[in-house]
């Protein structure tokens, strides 16, 4: 029994100062032992991505990040994608933003799925006021963008949100995330072997987030196994700090979707 997956995509991205347009299609076949991929030259008529929206979004970010801040990395993209897996067809339009804003020696990382930059503005403003590294506050809450990055490994109750299709065209059904093999398949590229994953994670709310405690508003490094490095706002003070990943005392879900793994909704978490 073999499975055939096909994908057609058109994307436009700003990477630094360059605009890159990519049209690509390919197929993946998988049987019990071997996963094979190859390009498809027959293209579907996909709607062209909005290059002007990509350029405008990139320009907006460039206007936010001014010296002494450094826009170290800028990826802004939009893509139109069609999928087919064993006769099931579906399509989607995606937007992605990855920004690294440096104020040496620190760097804030921002990943978004919309061209809305309130978080970028807030982080850039805070970076301008950032002082030296300080010990982690006893209690700290994480902003939705930071909590979303932590969600897949966070030891709290969470649910998989319903979605029309997974990487094999099957429906993603809302259910509680358990310590078991995820029922759905994640396929970030036709060239990559699909893997099981929980989709579109959402934190189950519990406890009470104390809005008065210091807040980690941006990741300063990818999530570690035992620590997260964040930019923290505590009253008038802004500083980088390394927070041990410990028991989460409260969680609140938000409606913003973030492109971490197979997707995660915003999660305000409090340690």
């Amino acid at each position: 029994m073999s499975e055939l997956y096909r994908k057609w995509g058109r994307s436009v991205r700003r990477e630094g100062s360059r605009l890159v347009r990519v049209d690509e299609a390919g197929e993946a076949m998988e049987n019990r032992t071997t996963f094979r991929t190859q390009p498809i030259e027959d293209m579907l008529e996909l709607e062209a991505p909005d290059a002007e929206a990509v350029q405008a979004a990139a320009r907006e970010i460039e206007s936010i990040v001014k010296p002494p801040l450094i826009l170290e990395r800028l990826f802004v993209s939009e893509g139109s994608i069609a999928h087919e897996c064993d006769g099931v067809r579906w399509s989607e339009t995606l937007r992605r933003v990855h920004v690294a804003i440096a104020r040496p020696p620190i760097r804030a990382l921002v990943d978004l799925a919309e061209f809305q930059f309130d978080a970028v503005k807030r982080i850039a403003s805070a970076l301008l006021r950032a002082g030296g590294e300080r010990d982690a506050p006893k209690r700290i809450r994480l902003a939705e963008n930071v909590g979303a990055a932590l969600l897949s490994s966070a030891k709290i109750q969470k649910t998989q949100s319903a979605w029309p299709h997974d990487g094999k065209g099957q429906q993603v059904i809302e259910r509680r995330v358990e310590n078991e093999e995820p029922p759905n398949w994640f396929r970030p590229s036709y060239r990559m072997r699909p893997r099981r994953a929980w989709f579109h994670l959402r934190a189950a709310p519990f406890g009470r987030i104390d809005d008065a405690v210091p807040e980690g508003i941006a990741l300063l490094a990818p999530i570690g196994e035992r620590f997260i490095s964040v930019l923290c706002i505590d009253g008038n003070r802004v500083f980088p700090t390394t927070v041990p990943i410990r028991r989460i005392a409260a969680a609140r879900a938000t409606e913003t979707w973030f492109p971490y793994g197979a997707g995660a909704f915003g999660a305000e978490l409090m340690f």
Binding site: G16, D23, T33, Q38, A48, E52, P104
Partner: protein, 317 residues
């Protein structure tokens, strides 16, 4: 809204209507196969072209010139046939063969993993490096306090340390440091153009992982040499044989090196490039080819040839 032209009628040429020249056009075919303990697990073919003009890159997974496509694809398939024969002789390993033929370059590498330790090597050296890896894995380890002893970097492994501390610093345009006068570090393109990395020159080659990617000035073949360096093997020392990976943090100029195989087992070095420059205390012999560095920058992974003589550093942990 702009650029709503249906894909089927879209022109591959730049918007100004001119035909791409050889300098504008990048075409690539790649074959890769993953074999695990003698069984083919993954097989890919990938091809496409990119045309660059006025800061814009138009890429697609089609090569317009059928002759070029056939030539590049045939070169890849022939080479993959040779690589497959090599892989068959490594039935206990996880092995990935990657062959890339482009309008600018041809590269064939084999990544071999045994007991969780990996090397990446040009196909010509794969059999010998497979045997070397097996012999490294037989090395016994002893206990020693980290950071208290000089380190002897054998088998060209110092190339990884200096790839991070000199090569990436040059790529980022960081100011040259005072390295020992006996040390030479240059990057060579496949057509023989050379950049003096110690002097802060950028690598000459513009490279990209695939036709979808933005080309960047990246190292191709890092050659570390010594000229009349002092050399006295310390009686008490640690010996480094194989490095799992490294990183250069451009904001802090901190180098991280994860040593995979040494006579005291795996360990991590984290030091500023200035500290590494101060730590070099001797070297001997000609550059030794190190079995492979896959260099990742801006999410683009490239193979970089690497060689270095035996080098001694003082304790830098």
């Amino acid at each position: 809204m702009v650029d709503r032209t249906p894909l089927a009628v879209r022109r591959p040429d730049p918007a100004d209507g001119q035909r791409p020249t050889a300098n504008d056009l990048f075409a690539m075919v790649r074959r890769d196969e993953l074999w695990v303990r003698g069984v083919l697990e993954e097989s890919r073919i990938n091809y496409g072209q990119a045309v660059e003009r006025s800061g814009e890159i138009i890429a697609r997974n089609r090569i317009d010139d059928p002759t070029a496509l056939a030539r590049l694809r045939d070169a890849c398939e022939e080479e993959m046939g040779r690589v497959r024969k090599l892989i068959r002789a490594m039935p206990d390993a996880r092995v990935r063969g990657v062959v890339t033929a482009t309008s600018e370059d041809f590269e064939s590498t084999v990544a071999i993993t045994l007991d969780g330790v990996s090397i990446v090597t040009p196909h010509q050296s794969a059999s010998a490096d497979y045997d070397r890896l097996k012999s490294f894995l037989q090395l016994s380890t002893r206990h020693s306090a980290l950071g208290t002893l000089p380190m002897v970097w054998r088998n060209g492994s110092a190339a990884v340390l200096l790839h991070e501390a000199i090569g990436h610093a040059a790529e980022h345009g960081h100011a040259p440091l005072a390295w020992p006068g006996w040390l030479r570090a240059r990057d060579e393109t496949r057509d023989g153009r050379s950049a003096d990395l110690i002097a802060g020159e950028l690598p000459r080659a513009t490279r990209r992982e695939s036709f979808r990617d933005v080309p960047m000035r990246r190292m191709t073949n890092l050659i570390i040499e010594q000229a009349n360096a002092p050399f006295a093997l310390p009686e008490e020392r640690m010996e480094v044989h194989l490095v799992a990976g490294g990183a250069y943090e451009p904001l802090t100029e901190i180098v991280t090196i994860n040593v995979a195989i040494s006579d005291i087992g795996p360990f991590t070095i984290r030091a500023s490039r200035a500290a590494i420059a101060r730590s070099l205390i001797g070297a001997t012999g000609d550059p030794l080819r190190y079995p492979g560095v896959i260099c990742s920058r801006e999410a683009q992974e490239l193979y970089v040839g690497s060689s270095a003589p035996v080098i001694i550093t003082s304790e830098i942990l």
